[in-house]
Symmetry: C2
Subunit: 886 residues, 2 copies
């Protein structure tokens, strides 16, 4: 039978899986000899048993008895004894912190008898009755599932009856009466008396904590934070200490350094004569922790010593909860503390300089997501800002524009070239056109998985959602903020997608100093930039994955190289066919004869050649993977419906070219263009098209080499699903390369499920694979991103069908399995095959680590994400220590 | 070192892989003691070595010498000896017959000296010089790659010079002159003399036969016939015997029974004083084989005895080639003969009755494709028919209609309700609308993989292609047939897609007696129907796969049951929403409130209930798998472009409902509807939709049960890609079933690649899987059938990228691999899971065998294909003997 209960003296911080974060850290502190109230932890294993089997495991009760007896011996008291009772708290504590999500019950052990014992023991009758009513209130709400407002209302009524504003003004007798009222509420809502038996109180509280793991809000939170659903929570039974035993008592929280900047110093808050829940409730104002030096110098000194011990021991910023009971300091909790992105980088480097961690560990301590946050433009913190409210930081960035309240209005203003912020109560698929037109989106309802949040993230658009204080009146074209501020259609607002803040008027936006550093290589002496520089350099030395960029022109290529790209992993040639050249593509499509077609291709070739030459120049000496044309040809033609309406309305006056165009659009129209005539299929069906592109690449490379450069072209064939498609195209490409006299690899995208399933065959004809995970995700899941992201992704996230959109992070079970098959079978067939990824996932931290794990050679992403990918590739390679940064 | 050469006395018919069909059968006949000219076979292994390594294998030359020496000893002659030469033929012979595709050279061993020896030996100078010129002609064309017309022209010139019409009128001197002319042609075109050395002749001929394996026409043939490209051919070196040594000599072909009907008797042709090539060339008319009894009674009797021996030995219809040299019968070839579909069934049963084979073997001897051919309606063979020409049988069926020559005209007449046959030189994607409108398609160009053929097969439309004798003048609206017959636009023609025949006027169409038998169970005493009946019964007793039908209404269900279906594998509910009910679906889509939506659903429910009740009645006691609604909702609304134009043209007068509809159509419009909001996604997003359907199913089942029936509903959720999608829907379905008080399995389609890849997870929530191989093929290959079949399939077949369309036969490497994964992992997670297939592949013979191999429980196909699937399932289960029916 497993051991279900651990005394604090038995555990340690490595047992988080079993004891939860709180329990493991309490044990760790106990082991360090710090003043932790005695207690023990019931394991997550017991919780999992409870949740799956529907009852507490056999033997648990006996183990609890044993440990409780030991606790009673240690404290010299018995649980709930009438004269001098031991009281305990029952606190949840899962592996990952889930703030406010789980349940805690204090003062277990009080009843009509022991309340007198507590009064005598504390020498404070009012305290004892207040403690008792707190027990019934928390127990009633948490364990017995009674609406908490009933208790709050009764408390408010007691104060009202007495005509006082504050709990502190209530007397022992008032609380005693309140206890009776509370017991009445319990009886009325459960049909039973409040349980007086202390052991029954404890057992019910333990079960309630276990059950709270599956409370709806906990389920939603886990889904958002991507915490596995089956971990369960541990329960800590801790001897009560009281911060509300008078002015020589109190409670506080502290950080071992500033979580905002990483600077060392004393950061925290303290509240005299209070329990932790009073701090959380925000009923009374705390004082800065420094004031404790004046209030209780001995405890203050002891606390600073403990904080130093903890930081040195944990080798990281810790946050702490403590209580002082009549001049005696007790540590109630510690954990590695959350911090801002900037602080994460600074702290990691500071700890290296202090000799507490090495650079490997420092790189593991920061994340690509944090780096990405630091790269967004931001509002000037020095500027004058009028904060309206704060919502959820749903999609990062800093957006400024006129508030508009309908999608139509958003489009109207945007079409005039104005920046707008679309403000809605919540968004639906009908808002899509407005979201596309807007610089940012602000909603008053919905969380990070709401429609607005999901779609905005998909678009890379700034979004603040769930700003619940705002009253949005779309019909009236205005919203009302707290304090009565009204923002009307056309008024300028600024929203910060990284913090969730909403400002009135235009807040100036400044570029990120981190981006400036990447652009220029200069760190400007700023601590943050210096820290980023050191960690990036170290990540680069450690990583095995190369990082390339997706870039379609010389400008992007140059920026990518400044950002550290080691080549181009995806150069899309179709973007080169837009703008002025669209007419040439139309000529190609409308060509009525081989001669006309060849003429159209010949007109395009020199333009393509100069496109490629410019890119080779910027990427001299580095590989440049050029993908031959991929999209269906009708993408270069007008929209069928729009053109049909235009020609129909023009009647006899429609121009001949428009009529010919309409005919071509109709002919090329496809039901499902994503699954139509595109990629290698175009190359096989339209004579000369791929040939023209390959020749332009070869000629550009020859030109560059003649000029003394070192062009390294890689020709990539898109949308291959069978090796036979590739063979002919490859042979023709090789023939042209040989004719022009240059060398280039010829390889393929793996973006169709069948290509992955037959990778062993395809590798016979491909010198490299590049996973096109956008299309691969669409085809593996059978949904088109354009169509479904707006239509049902938010619903799917709500239902928990996705933990995260598979377009953001590679779906390991489905798409990832195909990739794993393709890597293994591709390498088996061609051991020196080059393997990379060029879908958007190439810049997603978790996906980069996945690519490292399955053994790719490189990832390729947008230039802006190159540093993120470099860092994550380094972290992946350096992993092995405790790299969990959740 | 492998053995590369086998004497005819060493091989046997089981060595076809190594010796090819011809070589193996010559060895078999030799072993039976039949009069086969001595010889030996060079193996396919030597050919494969030659083709991959570019040269003959080491040691082959020595082996040939050894066997040639033995042959010379046996014949008492030496190859090409001047006085009494041994002559040999060099004949190709691959594992599978490739008629006319491969090369043969006769009379090897002749040169300027040995021709005199042959003349002396035969006592016929003319014969000797004719043989010599034949050698140079065949050798020149086949081995030296000289245009054969040059030799034909010289022969024609010789006859013209002499003023005679026939080869037989040429003298020894004429042929001797011709030999000189031929040698001149060789010298002129190769720069070298015709090789006089007999061994060099032989070696070059062997190499030429090997090389002919990869001649373009052979490659195309193999692709069409789906013969693997890497088998290679064997070469047979056979002592020459001569049918052209006078009127006591001759050559012939024979069948051991009628390949058209299977009836026993003497079937064949004979030609006196001729070699086999003369029969093939059709220069002179053959006589019926019966006449041999008069010409050479001894040989006739011997031949009949040999035919009986062969049929008893091969236990099947054999075809035979033989030569009589001066009264001595020689067997040159035998093989299991080709036959019509009807003959295949009759012969198989006859052989059972003769005790030559058992019923297992008889079932293996017939194919589902043959059965399918027998089930098509056909032209009345008794009717008066005027054959115009014969093309290729590209897509079966019998179609009658007015000839039309443009797609627009096809649509115009079809819209008026007339039957049309679209006649084109060849078709392109632009013809699609016409092909859809037509009853059948006739082209004058292109083979079985041409655009017309591929698209017509995809549509299940009758097609004859490559009718090269027709001169199609689309602009003039007519075609001209041999003999000057002109068919104008509007003239009626009849085309037989099973035979490739084209008739003038209307040929009456009659139903297949086989279908009548399936419909009624009565065999009418016809031999064919009796044979089908016996073989179907035996297939049914042997098969492991159950066969169900795809049926959406009671009528189809009833027919399916008559055809032997053991349930319904796919009942599509969306077809039930068309017609009058479309308005209700529009109401559902246009619903502006929950109330309106519920009202629309409530209106649909009783209609759905009665749909299901009727199907349960027809399928009483058998499983009925009902798929909840699958297609995107906009399929029930008008087309976006058409409605946009309509509303735009109507201007202010457009009706409010049309405007609302247009708004809905725009809102629901998807870029890629196949990958959009459909299937389970609809169920999760539209409240009440799936619930209404499940309730209708449950209520219909309850109704049926109350009436004493035995309904067996299975509820199938479409388009699942993740188990999480399924769980909620399954739970709701179970709740409703429990409410109504009926039981039903709940399972899912496996039609998205990810579903197959995560089948282990999905099986936790699914009681059955049904592979939807249409969608699975589309997503695995990344192409939409509608879009690509017309656009590039024919090009892909031409290029050899497909051997066969993956929509016809399951692509084993890609789609099949996903199925194999899903079967293994689904069964591991839920050992009693039911596994089936309901894509169109369920009725394709090769795919049925694939489903048997991977261990499915059932296949489901259209009612009409049910007998085909039953037969193939039986064949798959009975396989093990020589079931290769190519």
């Amino acid at each position: 039978m497993p051991k279900y209960v651990y005394d604090f003296t038995e555990g340690n911080r490595d047992l988080k899986d079993l004891l939860g974060g709180k329990g493991a850290n309490l044990a760790e502190m106990t082991g360090l000899g710090l003043p932790v109230p005695p207690g023990f932890t019931i394991t997550t294993e017991a919780c999992r048993h409870y949740l799956t089997e529907g009852g507490l495991p056999d033997g648990l009760s006996g183990e609890i008895d044993t440990h409780l007896a030991a606790l009673e011996r240690a404290m010299g008291k018995r649980l709930g004894a009438p004269d001098d009772p031991l009281l305990v708290s029952v606190r949840s504590g899962a592996k990952y912190s889930m703030p406010g999500m789980m349940e805690t019950v204090l003062n277990i052990g009080l009843n009509d008898e022991s309340v007198h014992g507590l009064a005598k023991q504390a020498g404070d009758e009012r305290f004892a009755w207040d403690s008792y009513r707190r027990l019934i209130q928390m127990f009633g709400k948490t364990v017995l599932d009674i609406d908490g407002d009933l208790f709050e209302d009764a408390l408010a009524a007691a104060k009202r009856d007495k005509g006082v504003p504050d709990d502190l003004d209530l007397s022992a007798a008032d609380f005693q009466r309140l206890v009776e009222t509370y017991k009445g509420i319990v009886r009325e809502h459960t049909g039973e008396d409040f349980p007086a038996d202390p052991r029954r109180q404890m057992r019910l509280a333990v079960q309630a904590v276990f059950s709270s793991w599956n409370a709806p809000r906990a389920v939603v939170y886990r889904r958002q934070e991507r915490i596995p659903a089956d971990l369960g929570t541990a329960v800590n039974i801790v001897a009560m200490v009281f911060g509300n035993l008078g002015m020589d008592s109190g409670t506080g929280v502290a950080f071992t350094r500033d979580p905002g900047s990483g600077r060392q110093g004393v950061y925290g808050d303290y509240l005299q004569n209070a329990q932790g829940e009073d701090v959380v409730a925000g009923i009374r104002n705390t004082v800065p922790l420094q004031d404790l030096e004046r209030i209780d110098p001995a405890c203050y000194r002891e606390l600073l010593g403990i904080m130093e011990t903890l930081e040195n021991h944990y080798r990281d910023l810790c946050d702490i909860e403590f209580t002082i009971e009549r001049g005696k300091l007790w540590m109630l909790q510690t954990r590695v503390g959350k911090r801002t992105a900037a602080a994460a980088f600074c702290i990691a480097v500071q700890l290296v300089d202090q000799g507490l961690i090495d650079l490997d560990e420092a790189v593991r301590r920061v994340t690509g997501e944090q780096l990405a946050q630091l790269m967004f433009p931001r509002f000037d913190t020095g500027a004058d800002r009028r904060l309206i409210t704060k919502g959820m930081n749903a999609s990062p960035g800093a957006a400024v524009g006129k508030a508009v309240f309908t999608p139509a209005r958003a489009k109207e203003l945007a079409d005039r070239g104005e920046d707008v912020i679309l403000v809605r109560r919540e968004t639906t698929p009908d808002d899509l056109v407005g979201m596309i037109a807007a610089r940012g989106v602000l909603t008053s309802r919905g969380g990070k998985t709401s429609h607005a949040a999901v779609v905005a993230r998909g678009m890379g658009k700034t979004c603040v959602c769930g700003a619940e204080e705002l009253d949005v009146d779309a019909a009236g074209g205005r919203f009302t903020a707290p304090g009565g501020l009204v923002i009307e259609d056309g008024d300028v607002i600024s929203i910060d997608g990284g913090t969730g803040e909403v400002y009135q008027g235009e807040v100036p936006v400044v570029d990120s100093p981190v981006v400036e550093y990447f652009e220029t290589g200069r760190d400007g002496g700023e601590e943050l930039v210096g820290a980023v520089d050191r960690l990036m350099r170290h990540a680069d030395t450690g990583r095995r994955l190369a990082v390339r960029a997706n870039a379609d022109n010389a400008e992007d290529a140059a920026r990518a190289r400044r950002f550290g790209a080691q080549g181009i992993g995806l150069c899309r040639t179709e973007h080169m066919f837009l703008g002025d050249r669209r007419r040439l593509v139309e000529d190609l499509i409308l060509a009525g004869s081989a001669g006309e077609r060849e003429a159209a291709l010949e007109a395009l070739r020199p333009l393509q050649r100069s496109d490629f030459a410019a890119i080779f120049a910027e990427m001299d000496g580095l590989p440049v993977t050029i993908r031959l044309i991929d999209p269906p040809l009708h993408e270069f033609l007008p929209d069928l419906t729009a053109l049909s309406v235009q020609v129909a309305l023009a009647g006899d006056e429609a121009s001949p070219r428009d009529r010919r165009l309409l005919e071509a659009v109709r002919r090329l129209h496809e039901q499902n263009p994503m699954l139509g005539l595109r990629g290698v299929r175009l190359g096989l069906v339209i004579p000369g098209l791929f040939e023209m592109q390959v020749r332009a690449i070869a000629e550009a490379a020859a030109e560059r080499r003649a000029a003394g450069g070192d062009p390294r072209a890689e020709i990539m064939i898109p949308l291959v699903s069978a090796v036979q498609e590739l063979e002919g195209v490859r042979d023709e490409a090789r023939r042209i390369l040989a004719e022009v006299g240059v060398a280039a690899l010829v390889g393929t995208m793996i973006e169709v499920p069948r290509a992955a399933l037959t990778a062993g065959q395809i590798a016979e004809a491909a010198e490299f694979f590049s996973f096109g995970t956008n299309d691969l995700t669409q085809m593996t899941w059978g949904f088109s991103r354009d169509d479904v992201e707006a239509a049902f992704f938010s619903r799917y996230l709500e239902l928990g069908i996705f933990g995260v959109s598979p377009f953001e992070t590679i779906d390991a079970d489905g798409v990832g399995r195909l990739m794993t098959i393709a890597v293994a079978e591709g390498r088996r067939a061609r051991p020196d095959i080059k393997l990379g990824i060029c879908g958007e996932h190439g810049g997603d931290p978790e996906s980069v680590r996945f690519c490292h794990r399955i053994g790719l050679d490189y990832v390729s992403c947008s230039p802006f994400r190159v540093p993120v990918a470099r860092l994550e590739a380094g972290r992946a390679a350096l992993a092995g220590g405790d790299s969990d940064t959740r």
